[in-house]
């Protein structure tokens, strides 16, 4: 597909279970971002990848959150021992160029994964 693809689109899980969220960026995009959006709120930055490395993990809320990216393409965000406060929409975005660390290209977003922890 031409756009950023995220799966699943919806996930309901019980408190304490682990979940994996997947992001397929636009082919050729070297930069990949994860954001979290709570109901009616703005976007909270989680983590950024340049290629397979993550120079900035400062937004991860706790050590229950981790992310990886393989082959400079697909990324997985894992939340262990989910809590009710983890309920949100998790958005992935990719961009073509991050030049000298500066963002000069727009971000292309997927439609997100809506996570509900019961």
């Amino acid at each position: 597909g031409a756009g950023v693809s995220q799966s699943p689109s919806n996930k309901v899980t019980e408190k304490g279970k682990d979940v994996e969220l997947r992001c397929d960026p636009i082919s050729g995009h070297t930069a990949l971002y994860w954001y979290r959006q709570s109901l009616g709120q703005g976007l909270e930055f989680l983590i950024y990848f340049q290629g397979n490395s993550a120079p900035d993990k400062s937004g991860l809320p706790s050590d229950r959150f981790s992310a990886e990216r393989t082959g400079g393409s697909v990324s997985t965000l894992t939340i262990q021992r989910t809590q009710q406060e983890d309920s949100a929409v998790y958005l992935c975005a990719s961009s073509l160029v991050v030049w000298k660390g500066l963002i000069n290209s727009p971000l292309h977003f997927g439609n997100g994964t809506r996570l509900t922890v019961t």
């Binding site: 971002y33 954001y35 909270e44 950024y48 500066l102 963002i103 000069n104 971000l107 977003f109 439609n111």
Partner: protein, 112 residues
């Protein structure tokens, strides 16, 4: 923490009217971007304005940037019902790795 704050939080207008949304931010920036989000969807990039630019146009959109006041505005002219969405500004910082930091958004409702 969020860098940008949009004002107003919500805006309701009639078709054909103009809609103006404002964004304020806190630190120096390299560029500022505006995004749109339809309900239940991801964000779509609208326009990017660099710190050395003061105004930019794209179709019915007009963006201004005042770096001395650390503020930007998005004007949508001759609005349509299809413009109903949430609008976010996003800023990077001037140096170092730049994560795009989003504001809290303005919810725009355009009634036919």
């Amino acid at each position: 923490s969020q860098q940008g704050e949009e004002d107003p939080q919500a805006l309701s207008i009639q078709e054909g009217e103009n809609a103006t949304m404002n964004c304020s931010y806190k630190t120096s920036i390299n560029n500022l971007q505006w995004y749109r989000q339809n309900s239940g969807r991801g964000l779509v990039h609208l326009i990017l304005i660099r710190s050395n630019e003061r105004e930019k146009h794209s179709g019915r959109l007009r963006v201004t940037l005042d770096t001395s006041k650390k503020s930007s505005s998005l004007l949508i002219t001759a609005s349509r019902a299809a413009d109903t969405a949430s609008y976010f500004c996003a800023t990077d910082g001037e140096t170092g790795f730049q994560k795009l930091v989003f504001g809290t958004g303005t919810r725009l409702l355009v009634s036919p």
